[in-house]
Amino acid sequence: MKLGVLFSGGKDSCLACHRAMQKNLIVCLISVLSKNDESYMFHTPNISLTELQAKAMGLPLVRKETEGRKEEELKDLVDAIEEAKMHGIEGIVTGAIDSVYQSTRIQRICNRLGLYCFNPLWQADQKALMEEVISSGFDAIVSGVFAYPLGREMLGRKIDSKLLDEMMENSKRYGISPSGEGGEIETFVRDGPMFRHRIRVDGARKVFDGDSGIYRIEKARLVKK
């Protein structure tokens, strides 16, 4: 079955894409670029770099901009998925893990458009997913932190077993999700098993405000693996 992947460039959509590639043919990535940093549906830091990630994976990217207003951004998502139909997709893959809000809306859109919907990370154990990200060979970094006690020093760090241990400790002490599913962290994937090239970040800036911060990638390029 030919599928398109809703792609934010973070670890969850990359892992969902990786799982989907084991069973189906992925023919395109679909990104919605939100101008609103507080987007209800769409991961935002470095979203414009999905184009570079798509090139690294050798896949076409369908991208749409949205103002990021609560339900209006869903219309932009519908437009993006409609456009992705030109690639012959029969279904959509998402990286939703536990968000009923997100999955409900995407399921409704797919149902209306006559497309199958796949959520291969749905309800999965979040620690196990983080371990799979690490063991599958993804090179993902923290590109945003949005919850105490996650600080400036976390920005730009690679997701490895040491970081996972810290997230587990934070999960026990502060109740934050170990994989950041609650929006506590955002991530950016520089390399992975389906990447033909890896991404080298040549310039980035940490922007911190209150208890949240973004690792804004300003310069990045593809390099040979």
Partner: protein, 184 residues
């Protein structure tokens, strides 16, 4: 034993519709509907028939593979597509009814799996009618949400208990432990 009714064996949907049920029923083994044998049914201490994706209606071409439901004494829980299958096998029918997302469920008959009014995750374009010999247990504004065989531990739930309501699965499994030797 969990029965996977997704379109294909070991499909991408297994992650979404079977694995979460398996996490709520640790140690259970998964068999795809195309591989279920009379021996599997005979050896199981309890059976959960899992759901599948919204537009995946492949299981509706395989009603005949579930004739064992009429003969078994094993506790069975049918989730969404599983509830459709149970209804159909016992003479009920399937009708169009769409619910996607969290929906309020009202319990209409006291039972061992859930009580009161609660919210549950729904993902269906079809609902099942109450077959003869079954008791309605719960409803939503749109349709019948749960039913039970009048004399056997055969349950159908239209909602997905593996999302936000894993206690329903745990209580179904307790029932099995009370009545049987254990192991699934």
């Amino acid at each position: 034993m969990l029965i996977d009714v997704c379109m294909e064996k070991d499909s991408l949907w297994k992650h979404e519709f079977v694995d979460p049920v398996q996490r709520a029923a640790p140690g259970s083994r998964v068999v795809h509907m195309s591989d279920v044998t009379e021996q599997d049914i005979g050896e199981a201490d309890s059976i959960i028939i899992c759901g599948t994706a919204l537009m995946d209606n492949e299981y509706m071409k395989h009603w005949n593979d579930f004739g064992w439901l009429k003969r078994t004494d094993v506790p069975v829980l049918g989730i969404c597509a599983g509830a459709h299958i149970i209804s159909k096998i016992f003479g009920g029918s399937i009708c169009m009814s769409n619910e996607i997302g969290m929906v309020e469920i009202r319990v209409t008959e006291r039972n061992d799996l859930f009580r009161g009014t609660f919210h549950a995750y729904e993902l269906h374009n079809s609902a099942a009618s109450l077959p003869r010999g079954f008791i309605a247990l719960a409803e939503s504004d749109k349709c019948l949400q749960a039913f039970r065989h009048a004399s056997k531990d055969i349950y159908g739930v239209l909602f997905h208990p593996e999302v936000r309501n894993t206690g329903t699965i745990a209580r179904f499994l307790e029932k099995k432990k009370k009545d049987g030797p254990g192991g699934i």
